[in-house]
Symmetry: D2
């Protein structure tokens, strides 16, 4: 399918279920896609940070692309992360994603290398030229250690290089500058990855949201988005506040034993397993699995949120 010129609504970054021996669990993956579509999402973002993309070999990535694009079968747009260190490597992923039939790609600034705004600019231009598909810039300083600022995004948008921005920077001031600067562009979509301030982002003029927590509770984010779209802002806020509280589950992992990625992704996957969506909560190595106590805390959060029968 063709991407709408303004991509709106909830486009969750789809978790990647794994088997106990670290292969993609395609049955769980399609079950998760069904769970998300049933939840009312308007698109899917595969191979993002929440999908453990940085942990997945190319073979796994291809399985994810083929499985999701095949299962979705054009019912809603699929964006694909093409996360890698620099241009030529990213273009390799772009080719695989295009061949799989995705509807748009999501690209970060180069990382590992020390980069420069002129190099980031060149990177996006070369990737977009190679893609021939809508390209979203993925602003994620916590992972890539550089910022794709409003000026660069707006220049690339004006030049037709970028079709949108996925902002996971947490920098709402910069996001607002992008929103105001892009207001007259007819074909530029602004998506926030900040799960706790979606009502704010939509209020400012963002088009949609890419919430990791949307794997666990897609209905909640869809409800929040629909309230906002209908101008029912107080109801949107109430739903957002419920989701803020649910989001606390990402902190169940003991920081003495594991990093924040293990804790957050472990909690998402444990929640999906507890809800009966995926087969198990296996994460890609070297992440550290949650233990029984930590999983019990996830369960408690789900019960509080009425997400367990």
């Amino acid at each position: 399918m063709t991407l709408p010129s303004r991509l709106t609504g909830v486009i969750p970054p789809v978790c990647t279920p794994l088997t106990p021996d670290h292969e993609v669990d395609t049955a769980s993956l399609t079950a998760l896609v069904d769970h998300l579509i049933d939840g009312g999402v308007s698109g899917l973002f595969v191979l993002g940070s929440t999908s453990e993309v940085a942990y997945l070999p190319d073979g796994h990535r291809k399985v994810v692309l083929d499985t999701v694009v095949g299962h979705v079968a054009g019912r809603l747009p699929v964006l694909a992360g093409v996360i890698d260190t620099a241009t030529l490597r990213v273009i390799d992923h772009v080719r695989t994603a295009v061949a799989a039939g995705v509807d748009g790609i999501v690209v970060t600034a180069p990382f590992y290398t020390r980069t420069h705004p002129a190099e980031i600019d060149k990177h996006f231009r070369m990737v977009a030229a190679a893609a021939g598909l809508p390209v979203f810039a993925y602003d994620l300083p916590v992972s890539v250690h550089s910022k794709v600022g409003a000026d660069l995004v707006l220049q690339l948008a004006a030049d037709g290089v970028l079709a949108g921005l996925k902002d996971s920077s947490g920098d709402e001031g910069n996001l607002r500058n992008v929103i105001l600067g892009a207001r007259d562009l007819t074909a530029f979509s602004i998506l926030t990855g900040s799960e706790l301030t979606v009502d704010n982002a939509l209020w400012m003029g963002a088009d949609g949201v890419v919430p990791g927590l949307g794997n666990v509770d897609p209905h909640g984010y869809v409800k929040l988005f629909k309230h906002a779209a209908a101008g029912e802002w107080e109801a949107a806020r109430t739903e957002q506040e419920r989701l803020v509280r649910l989001f606390e589950l990402i902190g169940v992992g003991d920081p003495a034993r594991m990093g924040p990625s293990s804790s957050a992704l472990g909690a998402f996957k444990a929640a999906l397993q507890l809800r009966g969506v995926i087969e198990n909560a296996m994460m890609a190595p070297p992440q550290i699995p949650l233990n029984t106590d930590e999983i019990a805390q996830v369960e408690k959060h789900l019960i509080t949120a009425n997400l367990l029968a």
Copy 2:
């Protein structure tokens, strides 16, 4: 060939010459390998940061491995960087490198993801188990944004997981702790990547050096190493000081136009072209090429260093 239990001497991180259309220039690559072997180096490190590994697609990486291993044909050991974001991706590179016939591999901590010492530990153990070859930890906080500290390195060395350390952290105090802690280990090699303080590192007890600048002037680093090995420390220092001055060429690129990687790698490649070793100074995108003025400055540095006829 089998790696010696103590790998010593100069093991330069081999630049990756490219053709104008960004393919690996294998003729230039073998010429560069000959230049380095003629210079007296005792090993080669391919697919390191200086090799633009983060910019090279897997296909390019395989060409580099096959070309260098084939051309070297066991005359000296070849180490290969297996640089990628997390364990399973790194293990894919390990398989390619092992199949190509390298003698050891060089592994960083995970990056892009937010990691944790327990996860870094698990990462090295899993990669080493998959490799079945000597594994060197590559400590490079400027790229991976975490530190592989002395305690972890020494524990992994004691457990037989690591065969060595390639320290490009610039943290000489930590390096010294590793050196003292590893003094009684019979099969652990400590290599420094800090080009400006090689005499210091050898003095403290490091076994060898991996100097990016060694591409341009391998004879210089070999001379420095030999003096040190012979206990001729003053001569070693004099040679080191000459190399410190030559190293200034990495700063020729205008910081308003490009990042430090473009400037340094552009200068190394321009120097190799000017010295007649490689065909051209092309860098992988999105790096920004040096301009005529900047290349002229590189030339001046080479003339000062008596490296141009």
Copy 3:
């Protein structure tokens, strides 16, 4: 006067006008205070970052305190920053501020030293015990390089140590956690320092705003606040968007010549001078003054915003 248990509205961080020889220009300072009170602000925050507190000697700080407290004469509450590296130094500033008659103090985490959550906790407790006045935590990672997270803030609030939070972290997700966690506290005020997302912060439940740009356009921020307080959110957003555009004036300074502090504070002071509020735009050294062209750009921004007659 006594601080209200919930401090609401616009509490600008008052710029510190200086004479050409770097003394406090008390006439301009009282003129600025009048300008702000005329603008409808509900409190004043002196000796914050926008006040150049880090540039001001203790003598200057005392002059500021005495001048503002004296001139305000209880008409509205005055908060004072007591910005210094660690506990005993901060307590010295607290004593001066208390003696001057301020109504509350604003305290950052320790800086320059490498700190720890347990030490930050102890710091706030000791400062509050010494103050005997309401204490606001000032969360400003860009300056102090550590974060005062929601958990710590809420614990200190529950224990009666903190009377409020001044959040200049730009981390709206954490801010929301504080807001939800503090909802049932009757005497805890949450102020945002993020000038570009004030409507969002108030929408989430913040009590007030501390906008540096409020020096230049207090009426604008007061209008924004009043709309929000009246539930006229669309009007609030329209005003906020106007202020976002005005805020661009902080970027007039050439980054090749000066840092972001010189540019932003230089623009604020140039705007105040152009508007006839203060005598000159002198900044404390080592900041670099704006040049004629840069000041002309500030003027253009003011004209666009209808802030120059």
Copy 4:
């Protein structure tokens, strides 16, 4: 006394002993000075980071200056840190230090504020003009979050602004650039603060060392320096390696309970108390004291190093 044009040898950063109620323990301070002079040091650096300068109010700082300058009475040069956020505040400290009779001052780049090389340059020039005494730049990125690079240091040295550099950056490559660039300057002293690589720094051409650990074991550092000065490099290295092992005592503090400053300074002070030099190990708040177990570990380190009778 007048500073020598090349200040050489061991110039320890003098710890600041405190009474149980956090006043300067002047008796212990003079005992510590005697201990250091007996150890053979060639100068004293008061009010540096190891002196807890960032924790000490101005009153405490003055007591330290008066006590040490008075007690030393010209027997050896006294350098004073004038650590504060920006120029005018630093100049206030300079006046106090000059009045107390110190022989030189030590100045960092501005901190807390976001700064710029042009502003750092202006800062050093203004401070030096106000001082009328030899000024040392103090390069300490871990505290001030900016780097005083070789180019700036050498320009300021050539212009007669700086009399020396105290390098605590741990960046030995940059240090070497300063050393080579300053080789022809007759009145510029280069001191390293890196305790674990003093032999290296002296070997490269540094003039002296400012070791925090020199409080605990001044004899060791003096022995190391004398060996180096006599060209007895192997003996110097042996002594350095002993000190590297002793330095492990800075890690006794539990990182779950305290930050690295509390651990390191707590260990230094515990060691000085155990050695009978100072009355107690009190640190300035909000630092966390070592517990009994941690102090016992310090004692073990001292016994191993033959520093306890």
